[in-house]
């Protein structure tokens, strides 16, 4: 038995749970490969590109990506080991194969990889920070591998800043019993184009908290894949994005429940403001036939702050077994409407403060879930900065 739901046309809500549904183009059958020939340049009509601005991503579709556009710097916790290795290092390429064109160009073009290893049993006493700084718009490939060995614990924050044109792979290996948090922050300057394939494998009784935060850049497209390799795995995927005028922010994730007794929770929330702001969230969850006792729930919420912005939200749950502990999803896109603003202002609250209240309220719970104080503080500051922008959008171009 196989089941699928597609809610691409759902506007407002409905949280609901599934016993069993029916498939259309199963995620299980999606081609993955390390070979450029297998995954050609898309025309934009393919399922995985249909929401994307393929024209703006063209540079990253090319096979001849360089390595000069982005510099990488790491500040590691004392327990954590950092290496720069050549592309033939045996540890690379173990967290799954590329699943789309930018992932395959990134894989084939990178010269050196940054490998962050949390040694077995080690508990990192501090956050490890990996900073990718865009220094030119030359189309560039980069590769980062984060390995949490057995029973280790660590938090790794990967930061993206500056102007860049980057096709990136982030491999994440969480070995048995390890607890790893990986935070990827896309805080690019205007003009940046970024595609990133995150591929994670989660071992026995291992836990991955995967956090994606996207604020800056012209086009950002992140595709996190998580695959369970043994029982007892736990994945929590949290995402937060804030799109401004003409920004395209796309998050497409795939959780592969390939083994029994694993748990996944996905919560992504986004705010949009300004004309041409576009966000896309696609959440594919596959519960394979043998993945008994799977427990999964995914949620996406979008808050549209001004006219002219568009949020696409497509939860997609495929269930191939009847023996599940729980499976559900919810998706909703709401507007910050003038009536809300009027209500708050009619209680003496000035407009900027009213907007802050609503947007903070929208993100508050999610920010709390990240559990990394330095990231939480930065996030709150970034949200404030975005809101300042929204005020200038509003005062600069009053709408009826």
């Amino acid at each position: 038995m196989t089941l699928t739901t597609d809610h691409s046309r759902a506007v407002a809500d409905g949280a609901h749970s599934h016993g069993a549904v029916k498939p259309q183009g199963s995620r299980a059958e999606r081609l993955t490969s390390f070979s450029l020939e297998d995954i050609p340049v898309p025309n934009g009509r393919e399922e995985e590109w249909r929401f994307s601005p393929a024209d703006r991503l063209q540079p990253l579709f090319q096979s001849d990506l360089g390595s000069s556009g982005v510099t990488v710097e790491v500040t590691a916790a004392p327990e954590v080991k950092v290496e720069t290795v050549a592309r033939d290092d045996a540890r690379l390429g173990t967290a799954g194969k590329p699943g789309d064109r930018t992932a395959v160009t990134a894989w084939n073009a990178f010269q050196q990889a940054t490998v962050v290893t949390v040694p077995a049993e080690a508990i990192a006493s501090d956050v490890t920070s990996v900073r990718l700084q865009g220094v030119s718009t030359d189309a560039t490939a980069a590769h980062v591998l984060v390995r949490a060995e057995r029973h280790s614990e660590a938090v790794v924050v990967i930061d993206h800043n500056g102007v860049g044109s980057l096709s990136e792979t982030v491999e994440i290996v969480v070995e048995d019993g390890a607890h790893l948090t990986v935070v990827s922050v896309q805080d690019w300057a205007e003009g940046a184009v970024h595609a990133s394939s995150h591929r994670a494998r989660i071992g026995r009784d291992a836990k991955l908290k995967h956090v994606v935060v996207t604020f800056g850049g012209d086009v950002v497209r992140i595709t996190p894949d998580a695959e369970f390799t043994a029982e007892g795995g736990d994945v929590e995927m949290v995402g937060l994005y804030f799109a401004d005028t003409d920004q395209h922010q796309e998050h497409r994730l795939f959780v592969d429940h390939a083994v029994p007794e694993c748990k996944s929770r996905v919560t992504y929330k986004g705010a949009l403001q300004g004309s041409g702001a576009h966000t896309v969230w696609v959440g594919d969850v596959l519960i394979r036939a043998n993945a008994e006792n799977t427990d999964t729930y995914e949620l996406n919420r979008n808050l549209v702050l001004t006219d002219g912005a568009r949020a696409d939200s497509v939860p997609n749950l495929e269930i191939e077994t009847g023996e599940i502990a729980g499976a559900g999803h919810a998706s909703a896109t709401g507007r910050f409407d003038d009536e809300q603003l009027f209500y708050l202002q009619a209680r003496g609250i000035p407009e900027i403060e009213a907007r802050r209240l609503v947007v903070r309220g929208f993100f508050a719970e999610l920010i709390h879930e990240i559990g990394v104080p330095s990231v939480e503080e930065r996030l709150l500051a970034s949200i404030e900065a975005e809101l300042e922008k929204s005020m200038s959008v509003i005062t600069g171009a009053p709408t009826a």
Binding site: D338, Q340, F342, Q345, R347, I349, E351, L357, G361
Partner: protein, 256 residues
Amino acid sequence: MPTLEIRDLHVSVETKEGPKPILRGVDLTIASGETHAIMGPNGSGKSTLASALAGHPKYTVTSGTVTLDGEDLLAMTVDERARAGLFLAMQYPVEVTGVSVANFLRTAKTAIDGTAPALRTWGKEVKGAMENLRMDPAFAERSVNEGFSGGEKKRHEILQMELFKPRFAILDETDSGLDVDALRIVSEGVNRAKENTEVGVLLITHYTRILRYIKPDFVHVFVDGKIAEEGGSELADRLEEEGYDKYVGANATATA
């Protein structure tokens, strides 16, 4: 004594077909401590008057003046009006997801008073006011109006009236949708506010039952965008018996 003075107020609403005139010359003066009831048929413009006074962006004042204590109310933004002492209990209170009632009340109180309320006393005050209105303390942690029943929304509006201590409060059909007990509880809340603060009240209603709890000093009949008749509380009883035919008819012949 502070007064809310409405003079020859004309208001249009923005529609797709262009501005549509709704209020056609409203004259009304409310002094502190007074309670004025407005009754009138559906669609006569009562909510429009309330919204226009509060400054809702959909409504445009085309002529006339409104002053609060001599200050030009119409020159103020929505939040400035509230800070000047105007309160509107809405006919349809709006849901604000993710903002807790507690946070909302504190933020609004701070904005209105210009300084944050003392932490200790404020908590007690909110708790006490909620108790008086028979609101479960759990409401403090819920999102503003989200999932509230019709009656719970109305209690929440009156809770705010009691806590914010406005100088003038417009209650737009606060009584509709309330069961008999809730009507009494909510009316008691309004009466407490009247006793404690000398608030002037403009009470919009379709029913005399609320006027048995909240005694109006004046009753105004609102028809076709303006006040057609004024009287004491006896006028309300007469309206309940006779309806608005007389006024609507008169108006129809006048415009024919």
